[in-house]
């Protein structure tokens, strides 16, 4: 009887131990040089109407000298989309509703991939004809380092000031995290930027989470992305504005050649003419 009891309990506890301990094992698989930082972002887009503030959460992923900067909601949508494409049968109704919710969320879709060693940054654009990336040189903020320091989410940070495209920025970087990366296009300090804001507080980024990811973060531009120049993209935009349906017909023809017979038709309300969005009066990059 004692042996039977012991066996029962042993089986029970071993099952529980496996649940607990096996997942301890998982936690060891994080990449040495990978890091994820979540920033809150706010931008006063209209200086006349101060209630117009765009807010959002962004995730900066680091892998060595490569980084990606993606809105958190976009990142969730991407991972769910990938799962849905890879394993449609395993896609649960809960995940489906989550995907619909995250796709319905409004917010900025800015997405950047930076190569800190080669001083390059790719702006990723989900264009109507497919995924597009435009490469630029990483901006130089002309940073001036100071002696001031403070803790941000528990990490000792040092203050630096810099200027780029019409704005004077204050950045707090962590010398203990040896990466010259930062939120958005910010870079070039001898430590990761955890907080940055301009002198008018119109634009702000503040780190709220910092963690080592369990899986290697994706810091490369997505596959099947067409790399174009800025001029080429401007031309594509103009062509689309002039003849939106013509652009879509080209896309439909390309899809048909690949065996996809679905067609997309564009209907424009009003006078039937497509106009570019009016520019905001307080962009992050001032003229």
């Amino acid at each position: 009887m004692i042996k039977a009891n012991f066996m029962k309990c042993a089986v029970l506890t071993i099952i529980q131990a496996l649940i607990v301990l096996s997942l301890f094992g998982q936690s060891q698989s994080s990449n040495n040089n990978a890091l994820c930082i979540e920033y809150t972002f706010s931008h006063l887009t209209d200086t006349v109407n101060t209630s117009k503030v765009v807010t959002g959460k962004y995730c900066l992923s680091l892998l060595g000298t490569q980084t990606s900067y993606i809105a958190t909601s976009t990142k969730t949508t991407d991972s769910l989309m990938t799962k849905m494409m890879d394993d449609p049968s395993g896609f649960t109704s809960l995940e489906q509703s989550f995907l619909q919710n995250s796709m319905a969320q409004k917010g900025t879709t800015e997405r950047f991939y930076a190569d800190l060693s080669n001083k390059k940054i790719a702006y990723f654009i989900p264009w109507v004809t497919g995924k597009i990336a435009i490469y630029y040189t990483l901006p130089e903020f002309d940073w001036q380092l100071t002696d001031s320091s403070k803790d941000i989410i528990g990490v000792r940070c040092t203050k630096a000031t810099g200027y780029w495209k019409g704005r004077h920025y204050t950045a707090w970087y962590a010398p203990s995290i040896p990466s010259s990366a930062g939120p958005w296009k910010a870079n070039g300090l001898p430590g990761l930027i955890l907080s940055m804001y301009d002198s008018k507080n119109d634009v702000q980024w503040h780190a709220v989470q910092l963690y080592t990811p369990n899986i290697t973060p994706d810091v490369s531009i997505p596959p099947k992305t067409e790399v174009v120049t800025k001029e080429q993209f401007e031309k594509m935009k103009q062509d689309f504005i002039k003849d939106p349906q013509g652009t879509m017909n080209t896309v439909n023809a390309a899809n048909a050649a690949n065996g996809n017979n679905s067609t997309t038709t564009i209907t424009i309300k009003g006078d039937g003419k497509l106009r570019p969005k009016p520019p905001i009066n307080n962009p992050i990059e001032l003229p």
């Binding site: 309990c9 529980q16 040495n32 060693s117």
Partner: protein, 884 residues
């Protein structure tokens, strides 16, 4: 003019250009691979000001142009993700050569780790649990949530451990109102008001010593939601039930403001809830002082009581318990705090049990069975006032405590068909004052500690005529026997120390002197009835002793503390002199060496290791060295023969801790050993069940080894907490008899695991405990026992605020050669919550599957007991609760 200006500007710019030094070089990994984008930071030697910084190229090269204004010698720091940073001093001259730096690969660890996930965060040494994310609808009070938190263990008595070690302080909003009586807050403060539970790792309670004196233990700080601060919180509840008239009522009120906190509680019940546990103090300050001053509740005499089973008290406790606790803390203008506490308990409880004992010797086994019917009326009244000033520049604390304990117990004990009625009375009181001040002069810290106390204890035990006792005492069979003792103790201790930090080192020296005066008056008497008694007429039953004791002590301590590593080494030498004013006068002198050492090392952000080694000497309180025979209970009578008993206690431990905040996973494992060497032994002789003890000099050892593993984790996606604790303990004891020495060894393997899972609106809690023991008592008794306990609770929340709760407990107790005992207990409750009116109405049916008696096994040394306890009947309660 323009030309002159242009030429001037050109010259100036050229001069400026020429007044820079080109500092260049390459950065490679130890395998020769160039490191790209490594930061190169040049700082001045004297100030941390950065002169210039840059990054290495893809080829690993760098080039910085440094103004000549920079001093000749600078610090250069090279840093890259995944490599160990290097800092070096470089001489800058106009023709400085190209440098070549080689970095060693190293795993990147987040600095002073700050990792955040959806419920647990860490910021430096503080781990914070977000209670509103981690609590479930089944959690009413803070303790319910604490039990789910990974890394934290809550004991059955309410004690809290973090990573396997008891916490050393408990704060609410940064203030210590309760003075370690923290179960009171954990069991009365509603979980809905808590924002965070913060664990302050390696907490040094004295702010002045924070950077100097390392600590191995953590503290807890409870952070309230903003809506719960600065306002009255509390609840009142009334429950009535059957059979008979059952009442469970209480009221608590509390407020937590920045300058004032209070928590007042009154509870009464006769339903089996032991609320007195809420008043337990888990860190009693300096144990040696309260022990030596005889200030702890101390039953020198007693009526025998079978070892209570580890059951929920409302299964087995027949009580009528009043509990009162008044606690207030006021913040004074000078950053000091004043803490006032009054606690009281008054109980009348009943225990009905049958105790079957087997005591194993070399050639003999004593067997007896006893039925016990006890009514106990214990009471306690305590008051405490504490003034504290704990700031960076000064530490001052003065604590005054008054304790009164009393009891009037009666019992009917039937042993081998012979009944014995017994009566025990206790009146014990003590007052103490403890003072400590730490002050600083330049870099020297001076500490002054003073403790003084006075205590008085009066106890008597009356036993109706008892064959065994009366035979040994050589009195007539019809005589009542009464043991009276009184102990009056005056004690004071003065300690002074000074210390000075030397960089990361801290050296302190302490001297101390204590003196104790004690009067011990035992008296064993006989009487024809319960009123008139006379002394037994032999000196060995009533020697009045006046004792003085003087101890001089010297302690030296060396500490070293950095961010990752700390060590503390203390050595103490005490000179003990005891003088007994008896005839003939008896003086004893002893040297008592002791040491305490511990070290902590933070291996990485996730791993740490701590080791301790201690040697301490505990010696008997002077009256315990008595030369009279004392009847401790009607089954035990003994004398210490004027021999002072010493325990030389040596313990070692090592424990590894792991924590992964992202995964909400905690683990600790280690081994600890305790070896105790006694200089005396109490030999046992028996007349049936009566044990006659006689202390003799004899070096004997007791030892135990404990291997333990503890792991816990919270699964955020599943909303599930899981924990498992395993330990193996082996203890060895000896018992002397006239026939020789009896060795006993007990090896026990214990496994405890818990699982809490919130599935939609259903909360499932499951806990299992398993303990198997191999018991070897002399050569006679070899038993293998196994106890298995399962507890299963399901709580379901319905729409309309209906909550149902179903609990089932299962016990399976077995010991070889004895029948297997299986027990089931069940509880059902239905609660209707009126959230807006803050009313809860509930019906509770306890002990659904009622069992008349519970039988458990208990082994210690050479004794094996099987005890049977009467259980509470099935009971139905209607309860109304109003929170505010």
């Amino acid at each position: 003019m323009k030309l002159i200006i242009t030429i001037g500007a050109l010259v100036i710019s050229l001069l400026a250009k020429s007044q820079t030094i080109v500092f260049s070089g390459s950065i490679k990994a130890n395998n020769g691979k160039p490191i790209e984008n490594a930061s190169v930071v040049v700082t001045n030697l004297s100030t941390p000001k950065v002169s210039k910084f840059g990054f290495s190229t893809v080829a690993g090269s760098f080039k910085l142009e440094i103004p000549l204004a920079v001093p000749d010698s600078v610090f250069v720091q090279i840093n890259a993700m995944g490599y160990k940073p290097i800092t070096t001093k470089v001489w800058l001259t106009s023709n400085v050569p190209a440098f070549s730096f080689v970095l060693q690969e190293a795993k990147f660890e987040l600095p002073a780790i700050t990792v955040k996930n959806s419920g647990i965060t860490q910021r430096k040494d503080t781990v914070a649990y977000d209670i509103q994310k981690l609590r479930t609808p089944a959690d009413d009070v803070l303790e319910d949530v604490l039990k789910r938190l990974p890394g934290i263990e809550v004991g059955d008595d309410g004690s809290i451990k973090y990573q396997g070690k008891n916490i050393n302080k408990y704060y609410i909003e940064g203030l210590d109102m309760l003075g370690d009586k923290y179960a009171l807050a954990n069991r009365n403060l509603a979980a809905k008001h808590i924002a965070q539970v913060q664990v302050l790792e390696n907490h040094q309670p004295i702010k002045m010593l924070d950077s100097l004196v390392p600590s191995q233990r953590a503290a807890l700080n409870i952070k309230l939601l903003p809506s719960a601060k600065n306002r009255l919180l509390g609840k009142a509840n009334l429950g009535v039930g059957v059979p008979a008239l059952l009442v469970d009522a209480g009221i608590n009120a509390m407020q937590f403001a920045t300058d004032k906190q209070y928590l007042h509680v009154y509870k009464f019940n006769n339903t089996g809830n032991d609320y007195s546990g809420e008043l337990k103090r888990f860190n009693e300050g300096d144990f040696s002082e309260t022990y030596t001053g005889n200030l702890i509740r101390n039953h020198l005499l007693s009526i025998p009581l079978a070892q209570a089973p580890l059951l929920n008290s409302n299964r087995v406790l027949f009580n009528n318990l009043h509990v009162l606790s008044v606690n207030q803390l006021t913040k004074l203008k000078n950053n000091a705090t004043l803490q006032l506490q009054v606690d009281g308990t008054l109980d009348k409880n009943r225990q009905t049990a049958t105790e079957s004992n087997q005591i194993f010797f070399l050639n003999d086994t004593i067997v007896f069975k006893e039925q016990q019917e006890l009514v106990q009326k214990p009471w306690q009244l305590s008051g405490r006032a504490e003034y504290t000033k704990n700031v960076k520049s000064k530490y001052l604390i003065n604590t005054t405590v008054v304790n009164l304990f009393g009891a009037h117990n009666t019992g009917l004990l039937v042993n081998n068909n012979a009944a014995s009625t017994q009566q025990f009375r206790n009146l014990q009181g003590g007052i103490s004052n403890a003072f400590q001040q730490v002050t600083m002069f330049n870099k020297w810290r001076f500490t002054l500690k003073h403790f003084m106390s006075y205590s008085s204890l009066q106890q008597h035990l009356l036993v109706s005529p008892n064959a065994n006792l009366n035979i040994w005492l050589q009195v007539a069979d019809s005589m009542f026997i009464r043991q009276r003792v009184s102990v009056v103790t005056g004690y004071q201790r003065l300690q002074a120390s000074f210390s000075r930090p030397l960089g990361k080192w801290n050296l302190s020296q302490q001297v101390g002197y204590s003196t104790l005066l004690q009067q011990f008056n035992p008296n064993l008497q006989k009487g024809l009835d319960t009123k008139q008694f006379e002394n037994l007429g032999r000196d060995s039953f009533g020697i009045r002793e006046n004792i003085t004791q003087h101890i001089t002590e010297f302690t030296t301590n060396l500490g070293y503390k950095t961010t990752d590593f700390s060590i503390s080494l203390s050595g103490t030498l005490q000179a003990l002199f005891q003088n007994k004013i008896i005839t003939p006068r008896l003086g004893t002198f002893h040297w008592l060496p002791a040491y305490n050492a511990f070290a902590n090392y933070v291996i990485s952000s996730r791993w740490s290791v701590g080791a301790t080694s201690n040697l301490n000497q505990l010696f008997d309180k002077p009256f315990q060295t008595n030369g009279s025979f004392i009847m401790n209970d009607f089954r035990n009578i003994g004398t210490a023969n004027n021999l002072t008993g010493f325990q030389l206690m040596q313990s070692n431990s090592i424990q590894f801790n792991y924590k992964n905040i992202v995964k909400a996973a905690f683990m600790s494992f280690g081994v600890s050993s305790n070896n105790t060497q006694f200089n005396t032994i109490q030999t046992q002789q028996f007349i049936n069940s009566l044990s006659i003890g006689d202390r003799t000099l004899f070096n004997n050892r007791m030892s135990d080894v404990d291997y333990h593993v503890s792991a816990s984790r919270y699964f955020f996606n599943l909303r599930m907490s899981a924990s498992i604790q395993t330990n193996y303990q082996q203890s060895k004891t000896v018992q002397a008899t006239p026939a020789g020495i009896v060795n006993s060894t007990i090896g026990s393997l214990g496994i405890t695991s818990k699982l809490g899972w919130l599935i939609g609106t259903v909360n499932v809690d499951y806990a299992t405990r398993f303990k198997t023991s191999n018991i070897q008592q002399s050569d006679v008794n070899k038993i293998r026992s196994a106890d298995w306990q399962n507890m299963f609770t399901v709580t379901k929340t319905f729409k309309g605020s209906w909550v149902t709760k179903f609990g089932l407990e299962h016990y399976n107790l077995s010991a070889s050669g004895r029948p297997v005992q299986t027990f089931f207990f069940g509880d059902i409750s239905v609660i209707k919550r009126q959230a807006i009116k803050k009313f809860d109405v509930s019906i509770l049916w306890q002990n659904v599957t009622n069992t008349k008696a519970f039988v458990n096994n208990f082994a210690f040394g050479n004794t094996f007991s099987q005890n049977s306890f009467q259980l509470r009947p099935s009971q139905l309660m209607l309860q109304i609760q109003r929170s505010f």
